[in-house]
Symmetry: C3
Subunit: 164 residues, 3 copies
């Protein structure tokens, strides 16, 4: 933990909306490109952004409520809805089309870029337990930790954001 | 105001959604347990988390619009809806069930823990005026103050979050 | 960029909801009144708060999807909806009525106050491109910049908030 004061940033990604998660990754990759150490914490709905899709291989204990919740949540970053004007996915599709016309990075590309830039990605243990999301469902390279890890990082960081 | 720089945290709770308010209290109690001084500011929809329920005893001046608003808002922390998948309260109920199976603290328990750990809770005066929420409707131990109190605290704090 | 450490604040306004944007401006103007240098970054839905209304004079290149998006978004600060209980504008109208009875500032008044207090307002270039919002559609005095400008400001600021 730690790092020279003023040189690091933390971003809590609580939301699972495409537009908000993208904003988090744009800030994270920009800060990393500018030499900052960046840690992203994914909690609650934000965990969806780290799911890798496909059949849930994870065999952590889940009851029927958690299974139902797991089915209702987006299975991977590419499936996230917009926070507004989603219109059953049409809004998200339009945004993706426009962004591809402009040659902006997609969310999966931003996530990959963040990993290459060594942005730390931490999934919240408690949220995973509550939502029945197993470690095996998440993309590689993600750490699992709790709120104390977050607070320990944030109190020495120059930028701390909560994206809800 | 003040406190040694880098040792305190502020959290604005703007949202009145169960999941978001819980996230605020989890961070607040974790930071307090790690020795930080924590101040939470409740504004707009977030005020609902501080209402103690029961008949509104507060007799502050209210017009019919404010009374209507007061009736539409949740009456206490235990009644808050989820920000997503609430499904008329079923989603919130499911989350509570899962969390109780996991022995996680409920929101009322987290609030009590925060008070025992001397987390300062401040209700925004202006929001109370706008929404017609009286001091008497709020749980004990809550202070009432304005934006200047917030800014004074935040500019000397190591962690500042806005939960919207 | 820069400014003496601990004396400045940044606020990202990602949301286009009346209540959230107002919260951002209340904090911004309070901090400015207390002597802090304040920079607000408007991104995604938050850009709506900076549109000046009237026919879109901006003649930046836009395809039909961007034109449609531009029509669906609020045309100016006074038209923003509430994030909750908006009820087709009735909720926003009620809030405005109550706030005017209490002699609180309206959002357009807060924006004007912020400009008089030299709060810097920056519109996110990438969001403008994605949403097809032209410089000419925005109120005067707004700068246009990108995420690197934000990170450069935020890492030297005492308060950094993300209002989503």
């Amino acid at each position: 933990m730690g790092s020279e004061e003023g040189k690091s940033a933390t971003i809590i990604v609580f939301s699972g909306a495409l537009d908000k998660v993208m904003a988090g990754f744009i800030i994270a990759t920009t800060a990393a490109a500018m030499g900052m150490e960046v840690t992203m914490f994914f909690t609650f709905w934000g965990l969806s952004a780290l799911r890798k899709g496909g059949p849930a291989e994870g065999e952590c204990a889940r009851n029927w409520m958690q299974k139902m919740l797991g089915m209702m949540l987006p299975k991977r970053a590419a499936d996230l809805p917009l926070s507004q004007l989603n219109m059953g996915g049409m809004g998200a599709g339009m945004l993706k089309t426009i962004m591809s016309q402009k040659s902006f990075s997609t969310l999966p590309e931003l996530i990959e870029a963040a990993q290459e830039m060594e942005v730390r990605m931490i999934a919240c243990q408690m949220s995973m337990d509550a939502m029945g999301i197993c470690r095996e469902e998440l993309i590689d390279g993600v750490e699992v930790a709790g709120a104390a890890t977050y607070v320990g990082e944030a109190r020495d960081s120059a930028i701390n954001l909560f994206i809800s």
